[in-house]
Structure formats: C-alpha cells, structure tokens
Symmetry: C2
Subunit: 499 residues, 2 copies
C-alpha cells in the first residue's frame, strides 16, 4: 500500500508544483514581463499547461486513484486528497482533445472580438464569437455530464457541488428584496454628494498604507508580496509564496479597498495547514468561498465604522492636506454610498448583487439556448431598468463591460454573489464567537479575526465542499439571511431608512 | 518526412520553453521571491528540471533525432539543431539516474559544508564533501566517455569541443608571460593610490546610469529588464525576455562594470536570429564564447580611454560632489590598477587569468587523482606565491573563496580565461573591420560595435562550435596573441613599461 500511495502523493506534489509555476509565469506576465515577451510567455504557459494536463490525464494516475477507493487503511485526509483529485481528473478526461483546442481558439478569438466590439461600441462584432463559445461550452457541459441542466456542469468548475436548483431560488429571493431596498435608499434624504470624489492621493503614501494594512491583517509579507499591476489580483504560488497586486494609477483610495480584498484572498492561501501543503487539499473548496474572504475584509471589515474608527486618523495623518476638510462621518458616507450604476466593478454593497443576478439569469438562458445571442443586449438593458432603474446608453457600458463571457466563462459570475452571502454568514458567526471583535477592530486589532478565520476556514483547505464547510462553521448552509441582516443594520442606520 | 521533423521541432520548442521557465523561476529566486518561499521554490525547480530531463531522455526523441541522420532533404539549420540536441541528449542518457541523484545530494552537501568551512575558516570541514564530489564527477566523466583524459568529458559540458590537449598549452604560455609582466608593472613608478577608493555614490544615480549604459549599448529594455540582486547575473528566458541584475549594495562604481558585463551577456541572448528562436540553435555554443561578450564590454570597451572620454563627463555630471576632485586620468588609472591580490573576483585584467590558470591546473590534478584533497590548500598557496607573489593568510581568502567546487563544477573556470582570449581576438577584428570604432566610442556611439557583434557572433547562435565561430570571424582559432597585444598596448602605455 505504501508504495502506491507514495507514487500518488509524488504526482500530487508534482501537479501542485506545476500549478505554482503556472502561477509564477502568470504573475510575472502582469507585473515584470518585458512588453516584447508577451508571445514568448504565452507559448511557455501553453507548454506548461499542456504538461500539467498530460500528467493529470495519465492513465497511471487513474489507476493509483482508483486503488484508493477500496482502501480501509487510508486516513481521512488521504481519502479527501484522492477524492478531490478524482473529481478534477474525471473532468479533464471527459473533454476530448479536439474540444480543448477548439475552446482555446474560441477563447482567444472571443477576447479579440470583444476588444474590437468595445472599441467600436458594436455588440454585433462580438456576437459570432460569443455564439461559438456558447456552442462549445454546451458541448463541454454535455461531455462532463449533467442531470438535464447543462449550466450545472459548468458551475461545477467554479463552485463544486452547487446546482441551479439550489442557487436559483436564493438569488431570486435576494434580487426581489434588493430591488425594493435600492429604491428606498435612493429616496432617503441622507443621500449626499461624495466628499472623496476627485481627490488625488500621493502614490507613495498609498503604497505604504497598503503595505501597512496587509501587515495589520496578519498577511505574512515574508511569505508573500505586494506589487503593482493594471488590474489587482492575488495568486497563491504556494502557501509560503502568495502574491498580491494593487493598482496605483487611479489617484483615489480604491487601492486600499482592493488591497483589503486581495489581502483576504491572500490570507486564505497562506492559511492552509502545513500538513496539506503540496496536496490537492491546499485549496479553497470553491471560488465562492475564496471570494467570501476577500469580500469580508473589503466590505464587512473594510467599509465598517469600527475599522475606520482606528484607521481614519491613520489616513488623515498620511494625507493631512488632501483630507483636511473630511471627517469620519463624511468619509464613511462616501465609501458606503448606494447608487444604482451601470458598471458592476464600481457598484456598492447593496446594488452589487443585482449586477450579478442579472448576469446569472442571462447566462443561464444563453446556456439553455433559450435566449438568442442577438437579443442579449436588449435583455441586458431590460433587466438593468427593472433591477436598478438605469439603462446603459450604449453596449460598452452595458453588455460589453465584462471580459468573462469573452473568455467563455459561464458559471463564474454567481460565485461573486456566493462570496457576499458566505462572507456575511461567516462574519455574523465570528461576531458571536468573538464578542470583543468590533471593539478590537476599532483599536486596529485585526489579528483575532484572521486567527478565527484561519482556524475555521483557511487551515481546513479543501477537506469539505464549500457549503458543508460553511454549515460546519455557521450552523447554516447557503442563505441570504445574514447578508440581508448586515445590509439592513448598516445601511438602515446610515440612511435612516427602515429596510 | 514533414511529420517527423514537426514532432521533433515541437519537442525542441517544448524543451526551450521549459528552459525559459527554469530561467524565470531561478531569476525570481534571486530577485523577488519571499524569503520563506525558498524551500517551495527549490521543490518547484526540482520538479521542472525532472520534467525537462524526462522529455530529453524520452526514447521517442531519440528515434526522431536518429531519423535526421540519414536525411538528405533537411536544411543546414535543421541538421545543426538535431546535432546540438543529439549531443545534449546523449550526455543526459549516459548518466545513470542513481548517479544524478547522488550528485544532486553531494552538491547540496558540498555547498553546505563549504559555507560551514568558510565560517570556521577550516578547509578540513569541506574536505570530505569535496572528495565525494570528485569521486562522483570522475564516475560521471567515465559515464560520458573520454579518450583517457577525464577532465575533457567535464570540460565538454561548458566548452563543447575544447580539450586539455588544446587548452593546456595556451594557458601555460599565457601564465608564463603574465607572471613576468605582473612583476614589471608592479615595479613601475606610475603605480599610485586608488583615487576612487572609499567614495560613496548614491544608489539611485548609479541605477539610472546603469539603465542608460544598457540603452546606449543597444540592449533592448522592452525585451529585457535590469533588476537588483546580491550577485549580478544574466538570464535569457527567451531572446525577447533577457533579464539582467546588478548589485547596488556596495557604495562604489562596481555596478557600472557589472552592468556592462551582464549587458554583454544580454546582447548575446537578445541577438539570436529570429529563425533560431525556440530551437537548440538559440544558444551560445559555449560558456567561453558567452563570457567573451561580457568581458569585451566590461573590459575592452568599458575600461578603455575611448569609452570614458565620452562617459567620464556623464559620470561627473551624475555625481558632481563625489567626483569633484577626480579627473579622467586619475579615473582611468584607478579602474585599470594592476595589483596582485588574493581574490579572483576583484582581480584586474592582467592578473585575472593567473587566478584562472591556478584553478585550472589544480582541478585538472584533482580530477586526474594526482593531488590528494588534503594537500589542496598548500598547492593553492604555493601557486599563489609563484604566480602572483602573494600568499593568503587563511583558506577563506585562499582555496575556500569560490563556490564553484562546492557545486562540484570542474571544467568551468577555464571558460573565464577563454572568454578573455576570445574577447580580445573579436575586438581586434572589430577594430580592423570598423576603422572608426574607437573614435565612435569616444562620442558615446556603442551601437556600431553591437551591430557588428550581432551580425558576426550573436545572430549565428549555435550553428558552429565556439572555436570554429571565432575562426570564421577572426581568421584564427584560440590564441593568446590578441589578448597579450591588447594588454601590452594598454598597460604598457598606462604604466610606461615595455611589455
């Protein structure tokens, strides 16, 4: 038995190492790669991904994994490792090589067509590429297999275990509640101008503050880094090598929130228990649960009164001139403004999920082939009006705004909403478990929260699927109760409105 | 025929991509890797090198390569690609896996023991590890095969085609000439104090100057980078992605010379003709020829009067206070001081090769098993006295100074001397081919030299072995004539001595 499991473990480590190297090559691509090396890097990444795929579908790995299935002498962790890798391998094996290549090509064309369409502000330039991507993704869903709902097979790639039958009702109920709330918040006389709008903050000072926030959160800067890139992202090359980026080109304070966001992801990646390192369990069980950590730090902590009670004076000290005429109340009102807007990435905590539900509903219809691609812009605009009361003046600010569909990614968007819901449930549980939590935050003590999350979420890795993990920690699975409760309390107070 | 060569070409590209990724992971290790990620990175590199080895020794690759041998329809470049890869693969196949592992372990122990020995200033702590490395390298040399001189088989790994029978007489003659010259230069009344000693130059200003030198040389900073690391190095991840480093921790001007040095390597890596990219021909044919490019820019250009005629005013402008009391003559005398010294990396152009010949003679004796390791420190000191007239007060400043033997690298040192000799021959040829060359250098025009080197050396890649390439360009193979002529003219004038 030893030698077979040893062989399996060795392969697991090799696969993780390749994943880490793909992470390095991708991180470098966004940070330090010389501009003329773009094509060379794309080739290197293709080679590495090809090797990784080859090692994953290797029949010997299939045999070693099959062998684990009737062993009574394996530990729970060993069985869980095998289970996770079996799932991953099964999906990889099911997709024919011709389809893999067709998809890669369609994705590349998709991104190109999307850029052209955006430039010309003409959705019809993107339409053929999107149709092709949808056809191939349906084929892929059928290759994976499903019980009648193709979207489930795609969702599984981002949120294992989640199904339309479970997700749909939660998102519909959330949508209906939020549509009502947005209207009431808009009508509040507390809506004022954004006092931070247009202010310019020195990049060096912002960078120092971002570093400090990460340190205070307990992100280990000796086992990770913060660099700059156009779009912020985080990448776990290894739990001892977690790389975050933030963007400093925009002159505002957005980088602070994006650093808290990426820092949340980063703490997850650094927090896997060392016994799980270089195994398939040194992973979050889903994109949604990963996103819960970033949203928790960015929003539930990072847009909250306790947090800024401590950090607003720090911020004022860093930018005494720029913030001379701003006080804590004005600042909190500014970073918590609720405004229906056209662009998802700029949306506030209340309207954000409506942007997500819109995308979820549309991509479900597209994958089901119940909405012709030609009708997509109109369907988008109709929902924007219904959900948020605003209508994009053009497709660039509407259906063409996100890159996800150009990549052919369907099933990804809902994980953002899941992240928000899980974040609220976990934060509510943390507050009950740590009665001093927010008093501590108001003194700048972020570590107790990190430690609690590490123990209950991060360290556990992928031992359980996401919803089961949440249920173990909070006592409940997926629910919008905690999220709505959080919004009600926070925005009800800020806007003096009964929600 | 097409499909077999296509398969071969695909594998060649894959191998180059893996090489580039190993380059990236190694570069990152020395520049941006978080300190706690050292072990993770070592594991990732081991995995990647293991995969690269596996793809290289793959029997199918052997068949494709064998197939090329009786094809009349392949181009010269296709045949050369196959020839280079056959050589590389044959060597890889010949070494048993057990020996590969034993060597890796012995190297790791070697470096560890060497560090301990240096710390304690006790050679005996390093001796057992060095003995083990020598035993294994002899085994490896026998596995590679040789005609009675094991050292040849090791030299082949760094300087393909070079043999002790050809190299030895050149180095002995060079040694005898230089020993005499060093004495005469030492006796010159022109020997003065070093006017640059102890001066501190602002790091930002030095960094800007390093960048400017690279630009002026024609190093494409859009297809490469300059970063900082403890020890300067260069790494060609791809001809479009060449990464150089320099060290700014020391307060002096050493970084300028190391940037010219690494820039010389970098120009070589950027200069391979595009038709050779991602093939085994996008390579220098030897370490010695690669080193010729770094030494040419560092010394023949970068310590010369024409170069500083243009750049000394630039330097003074960058550091007006620090250099207020230094003139061009004092500066040139300082960067060209000839002083017998204990440490190779600090040696001047005249004494440097004596440090190399010393190492070459000793490692040849060690590999031949004609010098017991226990007697090595004494043999070192005896040669130091004979060659340079100085004796190390301890082993740290003597036999323990270099890391190469701790890595188990025997056959590497002579490539430094070959680099100096080839550099002088190429530079002499360039001066004849470009009569305006040094007048241009004195106006800061470095591009004509780069272009000439690119055409005659860089673009050709590994189409020919190193010495053949040099013969095609200069009309002569390996010789010390040009090098000695260069020293005679330069130092004879500077020191007013007849050499």
């Amino acid at each position: 038995m030893d030698t077979t499991f040893d062989a399996l473990l060795l392969r697991m480590k090799e696969l993780r190492d390749l994943g880490g190297l793909i992470g390095l090559a991708s991180w470098d691509q966004e940070t330090y790669l010389p501009p003329k090396a773009a094509e060379a890097r794309a080739q290197q990444l293709t080679t590495l991904q090809g090797l990784q795929h080859e090692r994953l579908v290797d029949p010997r790995l299939g045999e070693w994994l099959a062998w684990t299935q009737d062993r009574k002498d394996l530990t729970d962790d060993q069985l869980a490792m095998a289970r996770v890798l079996i799932q991953e391998r099964d999906r990889a094996v099911k997709v024919p090589r011709t389809l893999v290549h067709a998809l890669a090509e369609a994705q590349s064309r998709g991104v190109h067509a999307w850029r052209e369409a955006r430039k010309a502000n003409r959705f019809d330039l993107f339409r053929p590429a999107l149709e092709r991507l949808l056809t191939l993704r349906r084929e892929q869903a059928d290759a994976y297999g499903h019980a009648g709902e193709r979207y489930d097979a795609l969702l599984e790639g981002f949120e294992p275990g989640m199904r339309v039958a479970r997700l749909g009702p939660v998102l519909s109920s959330l949508r209906d509640t939020l549509i009502g709330w947005v209207g009431r918040l808009q009508a509040s006389p507390r809506q004022g101008p954004d006092v931070l709008a247009g202010r310019q903050f020195d990049p060096e000072g912002r960078k120092r503050l971002c570093q400090r926030l990460l340190e205070d959160m307990g992100f280990d800067l000796e086992a990770g880094r913060l660099d700059q890139s156009v779009h912020p992202f985080s990448s776990g090359l290894h739990p001892m090598d977690v790389r975050l980026t933030t963007g400093l080109e925009e002159p505002g304070l957005g980088c602070l929130f994006s650093t808290l966001h990426e820092g949340g992801h980063g703490l997850y990646e650094q927090g896997f228990h060392p016994v799980l390192h270089r195994t398939p369990l040194a992973n979050a069980p889903s994109m949604g649960l990963h996103e819960s950590q970033s949203r928790l730090w960015e929003n539930l902590v990072g847009r909250g009164r306790p947090f800024w009670t401590h950090y607003f004076p720090v911020l004022r000290e860093a930018f005494p001139d720029t913030l001379a005429d701003v006080d804590l109340e004005g600042f909190l009102a500014s970073v918590n403004r609720v405004t229906p807007s056209l662009i998802r990435v700029d949306a506030d905590e209340v309207t954000y999920n409506l942007h997500i539900v819109l995308r979820y509903e549309l991509e479900l219809l597209l994958i089901r082939d119940e909405l012709p691609v030609a009708d997509l812009p109109e369907a988008w605009n109709e929902r924007m009006r219904r959900f948020l009361g605003v209508v994009p003046p053009d497709d660039r600010q509407g259906v063409l705004q996100d890159i996800h569909w150009a990549w052919g990614e369907f099933g990804y968007f809902p994980t953002y909403a899941l992240g928000n819901l899980y974040a609220a449930s976990l934060y509510a549980t943390a507050r009950r478990a740590l009665p001093q939590l927010e008093r501590g935050l108001a003194r700048g003590e972020l570590r107790p929260l990190r430690d609690w999350l590490r123990t209950h979420v991060h360290a556990e890795g992928y031992r359980l699927p996401a919803e089961e993990r949440v249920r173990v920690v909070t006592g409940e699975g997926l629910t919008d109760d905690d999220f709505l409760g959080y919004l009600r309390s926070k925005f009800g107070t800020l806007y003096d409105v009964k929600l």
